[in-house]
């Protein structure tokens, strides 16, 4: 049973990828997560200069959901250089550099600083829902803005593939994807967190997150993620690789996303319950299911739901 996936010329030994924002600060952590079974690593969002996050509480969780407003903290380019350079010396698995900026024009600046470090791919974060007070509505909520960011980054990253990370909090995610595709996006990460949402403490009557609101993730959002992946796959005629992300805890969750159109699977919130071992567990789950079903190559599953629907309508 083959779990490896070659995406935009990059080979991933298995389709699981550490999602951005989770355990993504240091090279030693990336290596540890890779050693424990992740097929790829995405860094926490990198900025062109230091960026403060929000005060605590920043992450809270129940059995059903996680809410976070970490606020994209980052120590800036010097730290990114040190950590990425250290990881690329060993380069155990592909590294996706997630970049962010507050203004459309600043994305290119962030990307320029990272290009010399030769990450395997970029992921452009235009969809964080918990920095709206600082920067307004995410660029992923407007097709023209999303397209402008894509074009600006594309100009400076040369041949390095670019995934644009989309927001589920829009009317037509497929339209946003098409606008980015027209400006040179190579693939998409679907989805960023949902909402934002809010949780209130009853006795103090205060919102629990210091930022008041935060992005929703965890088991509750998987159906939204599956729908968004299916939409983006359909809108781009199945030609763009998708990193399906949102509520994946098991091999079956991952396979559902692959049938919706994902080629790679981002895993984030599940790390809090299963540790970094979750990557190996999800892979084992996929192996087990596929072997029982007589499927010998995971790539044959990508977009399977669309193919099934088409065959029934034929």
């Amino acid at each position: 049973m083959n779990l490896s996936q070659t995406v935009l010329g990059i080979t991933f030994e298995n389709p699981t990828v550490l999602a951005s924002g989770i355990l993504g600060i240091t090279s030693s952590t990336w290596k540890d997560v890779a050693k424990k079974g992740a097929g790829g690593i995405t860094t926490k969002s990198l900025w062109a200069k230091e960026h403060k996050g929000h005060p605590n509480p920043t992450i809270i969780e129940t059995d059903h959901w996680m809410l976070n407003a970490v606020g994209l903290p980052d120590a800036g380019p010097a730290k990114a250089n040190e950590e990425i350079a250290d990881f690329m010396k060993d380069h155990p698995v592909p590294l996706i550099a997630n970049i962010v900026a507050g203004l459309i024009d600043d994305y290119a600046k962030t990307a320029e600083g990272i290009v010399p470090l030769k990450p395997d791919a970029f992921e452009v974060n235009i969809s964080c829902p918990n920095v709206e007070d600082e920067f307004g509505k995410p660029f992923a909520c407007s097709a023209p803005d999303a397209a402008k960011v894509t074009a600006a980054v594309k100009k400076v990253i040369g041949d390095i593939p670019m995934f644009v990370k989309l927001s589920p909090n829009v009317d037509h995610i497929g339209e946003i994807a098409k606008a980015c595709l027209a400006e040179g996006a190579d693939g998409f990460t679907v989805i960023n967190t949902v909402g934002p949402g809010m949780a209130i403490d009853l006795r103090s009557r205060m919102p629990i997150l210091a930022n008041k609101v935060g992005g929703l993730s965890g088991p509750a959002i998987k159906p939204i993620a599956v729908k968004c992946i299916a939409d983006v796959y359909a809108a781009t005629d199945g030609k763009c690789p998708i990193i399906g992300t949102g509520g994946v805890y098991t091999g079956e969750d991952a396979l559902e996303m692959i049938l919706a159109g994902a080629t790679l699977i981002g895993i984030g919130s599940a790390v809090s319950r299963h540790g970094a071992e979750v990557f190996a567990e999800v892979c084992e789950g996929m192996q087990y299911w596929c072997t029982n079903e007589g499927i010998d190559d995971i790539s044959s599953m990508v977009g399977g739901m669309h193919k099934e629907l088409a065959s029934r309508n034929a």
Partner: protein, 279 residues
Amino acid sequence: MSSISLQSRLPKTYRIKAITQETEMVRTYTFDGSLGAKPGQFLMLWLPGVDEKPFSVAFDDGSETKITFFAVGPMSEALAQSKVGDLVGLRGPFGTSYEWEAGDHIVLVAGGYGAAPMFFVASEAVKHGCTLEAIVGARGKEHLLYLKELESLQHVSLHVSTDDGSVGHKGYNTEVLDQLLEASADPDAKDPPIDRVFACGPEMMLKSVLTVSEKHKVPCQLSLERYMKCGFGICGNCVMDPTGMRLCIEGPVVSGDVCAKLTEFGKYHRDDIGKKHEF
């Protein structure tokens, strides 16, 4: 692995039941509820509208929880202004705890407000037939904590050190540790040999505890501190080089053997944005 199913990852608010002024800058707050914490574990304390920070649990008897803190920054200064009856949010308990076996002879090394969790250890360990040597150190007499509480426990011998010599041994608590371990190694010593060393205090003190314990070949468990956000192993802020170990899960209490492999131990730590700072 940590006791994940027992953790609360959403703060629950409790009222401050009592406030004890320990020294000029140090207070102990008692909350009207238990998180089921074990000695060495930490909780995240949320002051609604202000911030949330990790605190070592100073006591948890199954019905109430205590923390002992030093007002050092905006959050703890705001906390110091709180009154009996005020609400704070608590979530946890998180991380590892000190581990011993029944009947052990243990040395506790406490620096500054590290005395609080050491008292929690002592009060639990004596229930398991352990004998303890508690070394409490501080800059001067006025900063010593939990002496009376430790003295009140049976099977606990108290040793005091102050940098300025105002009371007890003049110098560091690790010098007292060295003497105790030396004496314990003597085959004619009247007390049973020392089985393990537990320490809580500033990192440079812990580094020295490790060196002294290694010299005498006695295993130690040290309580480390790094910038915590989530407390349950997902944000990655408290990770340590070179293994990427998450201190909120695999710590805060870490065995000396593991500490010896941490290249950043006693050298640097990362702040809230991941930037390195040397000690």
